[in-house]
Amino acid sequence: MTSSTAAVSGFVTDVQRLRDEMGKVIVGHEGVVEGVVMALLSGGHALLEGVPGLGKTMLVRTLADAVDLTFSRIQFTPDLMPADILGTNVIVDDGRGGRGFQFQRGPLFANVVLADEINRATPKTQSALLEAMQEHSITVSKTTFQLEQPFFVLATQNPLEMEGTYPLPEAQLDRFFVKLKVGFPSHAALHTILDRTTGEGNVRAQKVLSGPRLLELRQLVRQVPVARQVQDYAVRLLEATHPAPKPDAKTDAKTDAKTDAKTDAKRPGLVSRYVRFGASPRGAQACLMAAKIRALLDSRFAPSTDDIKAVAKPTLRHRLILNFEGEAEGIDPDTVIDAILAELPTT
């Protein structure tokens, strides 16, 4: 057995243990769990969207329990201020009779952060997360604090309630690795949920994955090579989400004219009609990373186009910006992505 094989084998084992542990608490939602784990392993963040009571918060708490990492929960409210989540300088006695400013860390200083109902906070507060999520650092009063690794933000939002909510800006959304839709549990899953939550016992997940190990796993993911044709497929997929070729892109890369033409020919009409702006390059990065993790989870050493297809929706759906017509028609970005996947050739 080669080292790579052993590493992959260990990866699969650890992740499976984590999933199994989470499975003890979370009933159903296998796809959501997988998405969350992917985000965790890739170093990205996850946005969970679902109606209240579906176990979003429970899922994040369980993950935090299963991973030996610090966890903090922030309940986003309209009056929540950035300092409330980042931390602030407070005047403290120094014991010698003097007073000085001391930075009091906010809840964001944790390995796993749950931003519950993130869309209830104002954009000002939401924006406070941007640096932390992208740079894994926080700057307060000219002082930058590096966040401890791994840093993982899990945000939840309710898609039904629009009153008193502030939709996440595109820049914020783009920083989430995946957007996972938490659906209603099945009939059998409901029975299990009821059995587990209405009894005497209170099942909690055990810690099965340490922080350093998680970082190792993240490193392993990045070692996974991608064949050119698979990567090309990811690129073409990303391009296909755009309603028209970017003007500057055309002038910058004249040699890609043929590729543009190829993608144009395969771009479904749905994109041209309902999409205002397609996914950013972060979308392709997320797609490829998720595909790698999926390949590893399947004990493969390289991702395939099937992996790209499988992770296209969670990694791209929040990056597609629909136009007014698309919003008015109630077009789901997933429908657009399905159309693209159906028409885009793999080779």
Binding site: T2, P225, A227, R228, Q229, D298, F301, S304, D307, T346
Partner: protein, 658 residues
């Protein structure tokens, strides 16, 4: 061609890749082959159609077909050589074996100069699963998409090449349109007259036992039948007549030769008194007389011999001299008839031989042409032009054979005469024996036979004359408006004052009256400008300028103003025909009493025929006398051909009716 496989790629992966690629190339070759077949079939169909039309030759079609076949092969080769990328092949293998791009990734990683451990692991992983790679599953062979179209177009091309198309319209593109020639039409009266003349010639030929003349006469009769049925064009009639004339020409030549030889024989008899009359007869080409004279000579000689036998006296010197002179004269005559070396006859003979050789060559040429035409007809039985040419060819050949036969028969007879003369001369030289007498008699007989042969040959002249007359009739008929497309023999519109009545109608009226049904006086050559019936008889030149030089006058007062028209036969009084014969006859029983006396004179008969028609007995008698004179004059005198027609036509019109 695709790039070669990376050298680092393990063989278990390379093999299925190569096999799959080959299958893909073969499939592509099949696709292009089918497309090529469609193109080739279309080419073959177009080529076949053009070949059927005659636009494209057989050689051209073969080249086209060859080109199409080469095109099909080239299409297949191009299809096989079309680029099939390795990633595409790998993707097909992965998809078929559900390997999630393991092969494709391994292929890509194998091409890396420094593969990472993960890459090597990926290659190994793909190699481990190579047993599941099946080229046939990844690239299964399928029927080419263009196969139905190829099959249909191929079938269509075969149909076009095999089936026969109606060539009416296309043939018009390449075959010049033959102009429609009008059918020659003659009035029945003219045809009847010619038929009668030819019937007489046929009878003469039968009497003479001349098969060649009989045949010519029969062919003339058939020609007239066809003319009567309006089946021939002007050109066809004249061609046939020219053909007959050629056949008769040879007989004339033969006759002239024999006549010349007989004359020579007469001259060669010299001043022999016994043969003076024979010599005279031969000079006049009167073989009948010559025969009689020879028979008389034989009788005299026999009488002389009998007297001598009775008297039992030896032959006197003078008698012997006479006998020897006679023998000498006969020998000379025989020598004159026979052909000798370095003599004028020899030269003539040589010429004849040359003529024979020409005939042989012509016969050979005709036979060759006949074979070619038969082959052509076998290929295309509908080729009417070739069929006509073949018929013409056959007729020419028959004529040649007849000429040869005829010549030999006449010549044989001449040779027989020569032999008998020589024998007689030889016998006479010895003595006036019964054998010599017998030879003299035989010589007379042969002269008689020679006469028969001469008669046979001479009948050709009559035939030629008749043909010339027929041609003249046809020529005149064409000039006078007949021979147009008048299939039904409808009367043509007159161009004189008798507007509304064509010549056909006029002729009909005339015949009606000539048969004795008319009420008015018959006038021929009517140029009168007064009322009254007349018959249109076209005459050459400005008829009527010289009053009285043509029969008939015109109007109610015959002879008042004879020949008053400006032009012959075209300028008549509009009412010259008078009222038509009243058809409803009110029969009245009439008692007719015979008159005593000599009957009417010739002039009375002719005069009365103008009113009563030409159906009386007296007129028949008068006509017989006149016509015989006319026949003689027409035969012997030099009458211009243009006038012969009018004279004959005139007498045909006034001939007695039954």
């Amino acid at each position: 061609m695709a790039l070669p496989l990376p050298p680092n790629l393990p063989q278990p992966l390379a093999r299925p890749l190569v096999a799959t690629r080959r299958r893909l190339q073969l499939q592509e070759a099949l696709e292009t082959l089918a497309a090529g077949v469609v193109g080739a079939a279309a080419t073959a169909a177009v080529g076949g159609y053009l070949w059927r039309l005659g636009v494209l030759s057989g050689r051209g079609l073969r080249f086209l077909m060859l080109g199409a076949a080469v095109g099909v092969v080239a299409a297949a080769v191009v299809g096989f050589g079309r680029r099939v990328s390795w990633p595409l092949v790998a993707a097909k293998l992965d998809r078929a074996s559900q390997l999630h791009d393991r092969v494709g990734s391994a292929l890509a990683f194998a091409a890396e100069p420094q593969p990472t451990p993960f890459m090597r692991a990926a290659i190994e992983d793909a190699t481990r699963r190579s047993a599941a790679l099946v080229a046939a599953k990844a690239a299964p062979f399928a029927w080419p998409r263009a196969l139905p179209v190829a099959a249909l177009s191929g079938a269509a091309a075969i149909l076009i090449l095999l089936l026969r198309f109606p060539s009416a319209e296309p043939v018009d593109l390449i075959v010049p349109v033959v102009p429609h020639l009008p059918v020659l039409t003659l009035s029945p009266e003219l045809i009847d007259a010619e038929k009668a003349a030819i019937a007489e010639l046929l009878k003469t030929a039968e009497d003479n036992q001349d098969p060649e003349a009989q045949k010519v006469a029969k062919e003339l009769q058939a020609l007239l039948q066809q003319l009567d049925a309006q089946e021939l064009t002007r050109k066809e009639v004249f061609d046939q007549l020219a053909d007959l004339e050629k056949r008769l020409q040879a007989r004339d030549q033969e006759l002239a030769d024999i006549q010349a030889k007989l004359k020579l024989a007469g001259k060669a008899m010299g001043e022999n008194k016994a043969l003076a009359k024979v010599k005279e007869a031969l000079a006049k080409e009167d073989l009948a007389k010559a025969k009689k004279e020879l028979e008389a000579l034989a009788k005299d000689a026999e009488k002389l011999a009998q007297e001598r036998d009775k008297s039992k006296k030896p032959e006197s010197v003078s008698d012997e001299k006479k006998r020897q002179d006679l023998a000498e004269a006969l020998a000379k005559a025989a020598a004159a008839v026979s052909v000798k070396e370095d003599s004028p006859e020899d030269r003539q003979r040589k010429l004849e031989r040359q003529e024979d050789q020409k005939r042989d060559a012509e016969e050979q040429k005709l036979k060759d042409e006949q074979r070619q035409l038969q082959k052509k007809l076998e290929k295309n039985p509908k080729d009417e032009e070739a069929r006509r040419e073949l018929d013409r060819n056959k007729r020419k050949l028959e004529r040649l054979e007849r000429q040869k036969k005829e010549q030999s028969e006449a010549r044989r007879q001449l040779e027989r005469l020569e032999r008998e003369m020589q024998k007689a001369a030889e016998e006479l030289r010895k003595q006036l024996s019964p054998e010599a007498l017998e030879q003299l008699r035989k010589m007379a007989q042969e002269a008689g036979k020679m006469e028969q042969e001469m008669k046979k040959l001479g009948s050709g002249k009559q035939m030629k004359l008749q043909i010339a007359e027929l041609k003249e009739v046809l020529r005149r008929a064409g000039q006078n408006g007949q021979g147009k497309d008048g299939k039904n023999g409808q009367p043509q519109a007159g161009d004189g004052k008798d507007k509304g009545k064509g010549r056909g109608q006029q002729l009909q009226d005339f015949n009606q009256r000539a048969n004795g049904d008319g009420e008015k006086t018959l006038v021929l050559g009517g140029q009168g400008d007064k009322d009254g019936p007349s018959v249109l008889l076209p005459l050459p030149g400005g008829g009527g300028d010289k009053p009285g030089d043509k029969p008939g006058g015109g109007g109610d007062k015959p002879g008042d103003k004879p020949g008053g028209g400006d032009e012959a036969g075209t300028d008549h009084d509009p009412n010259m025909m008078g009222r038509q014969t009243s058809l409803p006859s009110h029969k009245v029983d009439t008692r007719v009493a015979g008159k005593d006396g000599d009957g009417p004179t010739k002039s009375e008969t002719i005069s009365s025929s103008a009113g009563k028609g030409f159906a009386t007995r007296g007129y028949k008698k008068v006509y017989g006398e006149y016509s015989s004179v006319v026949e003689e004059v027409m035969t012997k005198e030099r009458v211009p051909p243009g006038y012969r027609f009018y004279v004959k036509r005139y007498f045909q019109l006034i001939k007695p009716r039954e």
